[in-house]
């Protein structure tokens, strides 16, 4: 920590930037495998309980899902523009990062509102809570909701991680001057886009089986 000259095996900041971006891509490939594992659980459930899944899905409000998808797409645009600015060492990139942050918080707010609704309506079949679903194939519906909470919960955890990193970037913003100081913006943008992609799959799989 004390001697910063030793911290890098690379001769230039640009080379180091390529390496960190490459590392981030590998990490995202790894993350994709993890979400794939959870989506497999969902898929087996849906194939076994087609009726329950369709009926349970119609209990979700697709408008809120669509709104959240739109918010995430906007946030991806914002962070993509932030990256373009940071690439020119334009410090105004910070404004766009703040916008990304706000959109992320808005997404989580809506998500939290939805969860609260589902808890109140008795659609959260875990932790000993009563399951107040009265349609056909209650077992299948309960399975859907458990998948729903696991998938959206893990996605939200990833959002929180991303928000924390953006917060850290903004907190250290005034120390960042040269182009190499802004590589972190690009790596973070890659992560943020990935979390966006995960939601792009979750939206139709969870909200649009049989929208009401």
């Amino acid at each position: 920590m004390s001697d910063t000259s030793r911290d890098s095996a690379f001769n230039t900041g640009t080379e180091e930037g390529i390496a960190t971006a490459f590392g981030m891509w590998i990490f995202l490939a790894s993350e994709a495998m993890m979400f794939a594992g959870l989506l497999l659980v969902y898929t087996f459930g849906r194939l076994d309980h087609a009726t329950g899944f369709a009926n349970a899905s119609s209990h979700l409000d697709w408008r809120l899902g669509a709104l959240n998808t739109a918010i995430l797409i906007c946030s991806s645009l914002a962070i993509a523009r932030a990256e373009a600015r940071a690439d020119r060492a334009d410090r105004r990139a910070g404004v766009l990062l703040a916008v990304t942050c706000l959109l992320g918080v808005l997404f989580l707010g809506i998500k939290g509102y939805e969860w609260a609704m589902e808890l109140r309506e008795g659609l959260a079949p875990f932790a000993g809570l009563a399951f107040a679903y009265d349609g056909p194939d209650a077992d299948g519906a309960a399975f859907f909701f458990r998948c729903y909470f696991i998938l959206t919960g893990l996605h939200a955890a990833h959002m929180l991680g991303g928000l924390a990193c953006i917060g850290w970037l903004l907190a250290t913003w005034r120390h960042r001057r040269g182009r190499a100081d802004f590589h972190a913006v690009r790596d973070l943008a890659l992560y943020w886009h990935f979390v966006d992609i995960v939601w792009i799959f979750l939206y139709p799989l969870l909200y649009l089986i049989a929208p009401a």
């Binding site: 490939a29 697709w62 991806s76 993509a80 990935f194 992609i197 139709p204 799989l205 089986i209």
Partner: protein, 84 residues
């Protein structure tokens, strides 16, 4: 700038499309279409926002390898779990 805006526009259009087709009764076509559109949107994000097409060869290989492994994992598990 243009590339980002085009990507954004296409994503918004596909969001509307996927929501609209979900209300049509296409039988098995519904999940296929939903996943197809989601894959197209994912590709748009990867190429339009994440710059996958202009990245170093290693990064494009990483993306390709991820797809191959996802296919192995999901395909083989589904097949082994459902056949027989």
């Amino acid at each position: 700038m243009t590339r980002h805006l085009i990507t954004f526009g296409a994503l918004a259009a596909l969001l509307a499309l996927t929501t609209w087709v979900a209300f049509l009764d296409l039988g098995a076509g519904n999940p296929v279409l939903a996943l197809g559109i989601a894959a197209a949107k994912a590709a748009l994000v990867a190429f339009g926002f994440m710059g996958l097409g202009r990245s170093a060869m290693q990064i494009r290989l990483t993306g390709a390898a991820a797809l191959v492994w996802l296919a192995i994992f999901v395909g083989l598990t589904l097949w082994a779990g459902l056949s027989g």
